[in-house]
């Protein structure tokens, strides 16, 4: 069987089995976990093949490149599919510590796998309309996951999330219509040969701005990010974790992929605008985080702020800055997913994530505190953890590109992150809590947290090879001819 289909086909298969299997919680959880393991193996397989053979291309149905749908895996896609599988594994194993029974009865596990399928599909597709379809698959699964529980705050948050994301989808669809009308192509590699040579600057400007808006909403960039802090703090911890880890990253990935391929020059000051947006996103996100008094709201604003880091690379367009951003994306997926899962520990112990009710964890549960310290301080950028290395690479890239302002903003925002995380740490782990624990803590809840903390530590230890990989990725991205040739002239078949 073809390796490139597996990261999409396996979650679909798992979801189908989950729907058909009897709805006994334990059985469902084990099937879901087995499916996540299979996805992880498939993702690693794709990654190994890409490392060995270069860009993998699969023409679905045997239709040659511009006519059919193409699946493409270069290093960036392969790395992100592996990251997706890691998040999937963590979230599937977090179900063993208990899921709200109402949610589980409505097919919670299956939806998680549909979501993973959408995310993997978005990372692997080489066709823009297909990307839209994967976006929708992902969104519909996330809509249902978000709205399954029926407290008033959750429904209200879900509605904001749904409305804003639907506007983004409509804009994306409009862009695709204009794109097809003007060029007659939707395959990204073919578009990459047509659009950069296009003489009509007005047309290019319209497309670039529409893409920037549509992906900007998905990626929660300033000034389009308000839906994220308004909704991400309400769903249960595991759902929040998979959303925070993956969904916005798909928006960022789409920006990186589409902009490097379709707009390699700087039409309409696209990259200047993106850089300004990234700077504002960082500042507004972290200033917002400092104003919050709730663990998960602080995380939401940190998530928004750090999405600025992940887009600086593509905005600057130099190899070093891009590598820094890519390293940061990988680090951030592991750290933020873990932190949302940790908020689940608080929900279990104290039934709230408001900072005033938290505390005393370090004294009473040192293991939880030590496991949590890794992602908290990694996100804060404390050396030598992976967040510090990512920020260092990014700052060096920004200064190397002569973007003094951006470098300065990155440094200042790192300080704000440190402040925000230090406060988070002292309030939720260090200080004495006003009330004791309300419930017991099942030991299994720590499994996914330990797993993701171990991954953060591994990223720190193996930072050298990982950075090399990020450099290789950014060189590949900045040389679109490689991608175009692989798709249109036929690279190694998977």
């Amino acid at each position: 069987m073809n390796v490139l289909v597996l990261p999409i086909a396996l979650p679909l298969f798992t979801a189908a089995v989950l729907l058909l299997a009897p709805s006994r919680p334990l059985l469902q959880r084990w099937i879901s976990f087995a499916g996540a393991c299979a996805l992880a193996i498939a993702a690693v397989l794709v990654f190994v093949r890409v490392e060995r053979d270069g860009i993998l291309v699969l023409q679905l149905g045997g239709w040659p490149a511009p006519f059919g749908i193409t699946l493409v895996a270069d290093v960036l896609s392969a790395m992100l599919v592996v990251a997706t599988a890691v998040v999937g594994l963590a979230v599937a194993s977090s179900a063993f510590s208990g899921v709200d029974p109402r949610r589980e009865g409505f097919g919670y596990h299956g939806l998680i796998h549909v979501l993973l399928m959408g995310v993997s599909g978005a990372f692997l597709t080489g066709d823009l309309f297909n990307l839209y379809v994967w976006f929708e698959v992902m969104l519909v699964a996330s809509f249902v996951l978000m709205a399954l529980h029926r407290t008033r705050a959750q429904l209200e948050a879900a509605f904001k999330y749904v409305a804003l994301n639907l506007i983004a989808s409509s804009l994306f669809l409009t862009t695709l219509g204009l794109l097809y009308g003007g060029t007659g192509a939707l395959n990204m590699a073919e578009l990459a040969t047509i659009l950069p040579a296009c003489e009509n600057t007005a047309y290019e400007t319209i497309l670039a701005m529409l893409f920037l808006t549509a992906f900007g909403i998905k990626a929660a960039m300033f000034p389009l990010f308000f839906w994220l802090p308004a909704s991400y703090h309400t769903p249960p911890a595991a759902v929040g974790a998979v959303f925070a880890g993956l969904l916005t990253k798909v928006g960022v990935y789409s920006m990186i992929r589409v902009f490097t391929l379709l707009f390699p020059g700087d039409p309409a000051m696209l990259y200047t605008l993106l850089l300004a947006q990234a700077g504002c996103t960082m500042i507004v996100g972290l200033v917002g985080a400092l104003a919050q008094r709730d663990f998960r709201r602080i995380l939401s604003f940190n998530l928004v702020g750090h999405l600025g880091y992940t887009t600086v690379g593509v905005a600057l367009g130099t190899s070093a800055a891009m590598a820094g951003s890519i390293f940061y994306i990988l680090h951030h997926i592991a750290a933020i997913t873990n932190l949302y899962l940790i908020s689940g520990v608080f929900l279990r112990l104290r039934h709230t994530t408001s900072l005033t009710e938290l505390g005393s964890i370090f004294r009473e549960r040192p293991l939880v505190a030590i496991l949590a310290a890794i992602p908290v301080f990694s996100l804060a950028g404390v050396p030598p953890l992976s967040g510090f290395i990512g920020k260092l690479a990014l700052v060096r890239g920004a200064f190397g590109a002569g973007a003094w302002w951006t470098g300065g903003i990155i440094l200042a925002v790192s300080l704000l992150t440190l402040l925000s995380m230090a406060r988070l740490w002292s309030e939720s782990f260090w200080k004495t809590a006003p009330h004791g624990d309300k419930s017991r803590l099942p030991g299994v809840i720590l499994l996914p947290i330990a797993f993701l903390s171990a991954i953060t530590v591994a990223m720190t230890v193996a930072a050298g090879p990982l950075y090399q990989l990020a450099m290789k990725t950014s060189d590949q991205l900045l040389n679109p001819a490689l991608y175009i040739d692989a798709v249109l002239k036929g690279g190694p078949q998977p």
């Binding site: 309309f129 839209y132 379809v133 929708e136 969104l139 519909v140 809509f143 249902v144 709205a147 029926r150 008033r152 705050a153 429904l155 209200e156 879900a158 509605f159 749904v162 409305a163 639907l166 506007i167 989808s169 409509s170 669809l173 409009t174 695709l176 219509g177 204009l178 097809y180 009308g181 003007g182 007659g184 939707l186």
Partner: protein, 115 residues
């Protein structure tokens, strides 16, 4: 014909955005529906309109002769309509849930009443 459809699509976009800026959930959802249909019409029009020329190779020819109707935008629109319909149905159910829970469909009142 292109001009009429382009204007129709523009009107759909305009009314869609206007309705989405209103305060009531029902209007917001109708706005969403209009918006997605505006996008559908735009894809259809931007792909070029050709009447009564199916993209089928004639029996005595070996190539497709221009002009013919491009099937791709039609396939895209079909996909988008199905997706849009599903999503719209979902948001209707969601809005119904909010309405039964909050007893109002005014967005400001829902917010001020929520905890």
């Amino acid at each position: 014909m292109e001009l009429i459809l382009a204007i129709a699509s523009g009107v759909l976009f305009g009314t869609g955005f206007y309705l989405m800026l209103r305060r009531r959930l029902a209007q917001l959802i109708i706005g969403l529906g209009l918006l997605s249909n505006g996008a559908n019409l735009l894809i259809f029009t931007a792909g070029g309109l050709t009447r009564a020329r199916a993209p089928v190779i004639a029996e005595d020819a070996s190539l497709l002769v221009r002009p013919f109707a491009d099937p791709v935008p039609q396939a895209l629109v079909l996909t988008a309509i199905v997706i849009g319909f599903g999503v719209l149905a979902f948001s209707l159910v969601l809005a119904h849930g909010i309405h039964t829970m909050a007893g109002t469909d005014d967005i400001d009142e829902i917010r001020s009443g929520g905890g």
